[in-house]
């Protein structure tokens, strides 16, 4: 019995430490702050479709990684804290997901990403009145740098770009093939200009004169230097939450969780008396330990995730209910209190295990087969159910063993 008291003390010690660890303004915050989802702090979740149709299958991975790096750089210029940029595959579609937390000017951010220059060179075929543009291999992927120059004859700003070796070679071939003919330069699918090629250009430098103002030219240079997009992207999914609504959701879920917990505790104590008190203490320890696990493993808390966790609070005492009901039956059969309690634990176990298995099956499948928002829910539900089995059985049993003995 002394051993039980030691175990119980260890669990309580962990719970107290966990309490300090999870408390939002407690000491744990300095070392490991809570990770809150965009729907709670406010922010922008953007999903872009990446068009890889013009890129050979062997280069796709390389291009996608390049794309991610470029967009990361772009966002860093913009100054968002901890932006998340990652590649996702949805069916056959390649997607780029951008998450910007706590951002104020969402439109500016979307522009920063969306307006990254997509540069293309196209050959021109004059067909009577009709002009046809034939795509070439040369595009922004090969641009290594850009700078502003001023046209020596008219003093207008123009943008000089340089290609890497591979790009330089393509450019050389392209110009050689088109001497005396125009070459079209497209930026973000808009025709910028169509200069006539005078001679073969080697060395990998090109000039876009366009009709830029100084500011436009500067912006374009900045964008090129952050990197041009190696493949075109389109925004297909957008989720923007204001920080006001995010904070409101967080506050409301916490209040609802608190009230829900209190009702459960009241119910357990009124219905099961002394046993209910122990189950409630175990429930509080469960809440603290589970939150500590979420924080320790860096689980991002989303609104759905918090909902999943609050739901496990309602399920966590189920094991206790099964045990206590079984205990009552054993008492009726004439067992002593302590024996009945232990028998209740032993015989309720298969039932507890089975009930949690069906919820775990659901959570696991949801986590595997769905996307981000549902995943948060599935993950907290799964972790919650697993921890609750420990808490309802081990913690409650220790409480009962240690304190029932003292009562006698």
């Amino acid at each position: 019995m002394k051993k039980d008291a030691i175990y119980l003390s260890i669990i309580i010690l962990f719970a107290v430490l966990g309490g300090f660890f999870i408390y939002p303004s407690g000491f744990g915050n300095q070392y490991l702050p809570w990770k809150l989802g965009l729907d709670l702090v406010g922010g922008t979740h953007l999903v872009y479709k990446v068009d890889l149709s013009s890129i050979g299958p062997q280069n796709q991975g390389f291009v996608l990684n390049g794309l991610r790096d470029v967009i990361e750089k772009r966002i860093n210029i913009f100054g968002v804290s901890e932006p998340q940029v990652f590649i996702a595959k949805s069916g056959d579609e390649n997607q780029l997901v951008v998450e910007l937390a706590g951002i104020k000017d969402v439109n500016a951010a979307i522009k920063t990403i969306g307006e990254t220059p997509y540069l293309e060179f196209k050959e021109v075929i004059q067909n009577g009145d009709k002009i046809e543009y034939i795509p070439t291999n040369l595009n922004g992927r090969y641009v290594t740098g850009a700078k502003i120059e001023f046209n020596q004859t008219n003093g207008k700003p123009q943008v000089a770009i340089s290609f890497n070796d591979e790009g330089a070679k393509i450019f050389e071939e392209l110009t050689a093939r088109n001497i005396g003919k125009p070459l079209a330069i497209f930026l973000d699918n808009n025709l910028i200009e169509m200069p006539v090629v005078q001679e073969k250009i080697s060395g990998g430098n090109a000039v876009i004169s366009g009709k830029f103002t100084l500011d436009e030219a500067k912006l374009l240079v900045n964008r090129f230097n952050a990197g041009a997009l190696p493949a075109p992207i389109t925004l297909i999914d957008q989720f923007v939450v204001s920080s006001f609504l995010g904070f409101d959701s967080l506050k409301k879920s916490m209040i609802a969780g608190l009230i829900g917990t209190l009702i459960v505790i009241l119910f357990m104590i009124i219905y099961y008396r002394k046993y209910g008190v122990f189950a409630s203490l175990a429930l509080l320890i469960y809440i603290v330990l589970t939150l500590a696990i979420f924080k320790l493993f860096g689980v991002t808390m989303t609104l759905a995730g918090i909902a999943g966790f609050i739901i496990t609070i309602g399920m966590a005492v189920d094991a206790n209910i099964l045990i206590f009901e079984r205990t009552k039956e054993e008492l009726k059969r004439g067992l002593s209190q302590m024996a009945a309690v232990l028998e209740g634990f032993r015989r309720a176990w298969p039932s507890i295990r089975d009930s949690n298995i069906s919820t775990m099956i659901t959570a696991l499948i949801l986590y595997t087969f769905t996307s981000s928002f549902v995943r948060g829910f599935a993950l907290t539900l799964l972790i919650g159910v697993i921890v609750s089995m420990f808490s309802a059985i081990t913690t409650t049993r220790l409480f009962l063993k240690v304190f029932s003995k003292n009562n006698k």
Partner: protein, 299 residues
């Protein structure tokens, strides 16, 4: 002891009416699919100082975008406006926001979500996969749970009735959402699917607990009582735990429904109805059905 089996016709009729009404609601009203399945945009905003007329807002949307395919909903409880629109480009979104800001100085954008049609298709596919796997997983779980069943009722009957009760527990919240969709414009989203799957995972167990007890009692009491009495006694023995385990979950769900965030309201409502239906079915549907089936097969 409550005579649940004796009054089984009343309980079963009550369920049958609810299930029938739900099926009719789904067939005739259909389930209104939200933007995450069909693609589209949802703009949430508040206007604090003045009360904006819905018709004024509608005009703004018509004029700025030249579209008629949208719907403005006002939530008076929170003073929020919701506008459901087709899939918007970022520039259209900006146009609307600046237009609204011009007109109402206290306009505040709360959230904006725009989903392309291809994303919706993908999500629908994923949801259907998840449903299929949960049904498969739970069915396998039922087979596992009833692996040691003895006569007079063969194990597949327990399993089959469990599946019927799961259908009961899922169809009732779905029917209710179909009704809400028809009369209150409430749409189902991927959260709705999640809620139904959680209901399945949760309520399958209560039914298994009752059946487990029937199995156990059949072994001990078969010589002393007839099948109906044994079933009735088993239901009564497990009644309290069936109700209490569901009740604690229902408590937190009610707290979430009343005090929780607005965006989870219908997710929680679906869970609440499903879990309640599940508790009812494990007590008043599963075991009575077992008795009915047993009687029919004896004839």
């Amino acid at each position: 002891m409550l005579n649940i089996i004796g009054k089984k016709n009343i309980f079963l009729s009550f369920s049958a009416i609810l299930v029938l009404a739900s099926i009719l609601a789904i067939v005739f009203f259909g389930l209104k699919q939200g933007i995450d399945f069909l693609g589209g945009s949802l703009l949430k905003f508040s206007i604090k100082d003045t009360k904006a007329e819905i018709s004024d807002l509608e005009n703004i949307f018509k004029q700025t975008l030249g579209i008629s395919d949208f719907k403005v909903i006002y939530d008076s409880q929170n003073n929020y406006y919701f506008v459901r629109l087709p899939h918007l480009s970022q520039s259209d979104h900006e146009k609307i926001v600046s237009e609204l800001k011009n007109k109402y100085s206290s306009f505040k954008e709360l959230s904006f979500q725009s989903i392309g049609p291809s994303v919706g298709q993908e999500l629908r596919k994923k949801s259907l996969t998840a449903i299929a796997f949960v049904l498969l997983g739970i069915s396998l779980y039922i087979v596992f749970a009833f692996r040691k069943v003895f006569q007079p009722v063969s194990s597949w009957k327990y399993g089959f009735i469990t599946l019927i009760t799961l259908f009961h527990d899922v169809i009732i919240p779905a029917g209710f959402l179909a009704y809400l969709g028809k009369y209150h414009g409430i749409e189902i989203d991927s959260n709705f699917i999640v809620a139904l799957l959680v209901v399945i995972g949760f309520s399958v167990h209560d039914t298994i607990v009752v059946f487990d007890r029937i199995r156990e009692n059949l072994l001990i009491l078969r010589s002393k009582m007839d099948f109906e009495q044994i079933v009735n006694q088993s239901v009564n023995q497990t009644l309290v735990r069936s109700i209490n385990t569901s009740l604690t979950l229902i408590f937190v769900l009610i707290a979430l429904y009343i005090w929780g965030p607005l965006s989870l309201k219908y997710f929680i409502l679906t869970l609440l109805i499903g879990v309640t239906a599940g508790t009812y079915s494990s007590i008043f549907v599963a075991s009575p059905l077992l008795v009915v089936w047993q009687k029919l097969s004896k004839k």
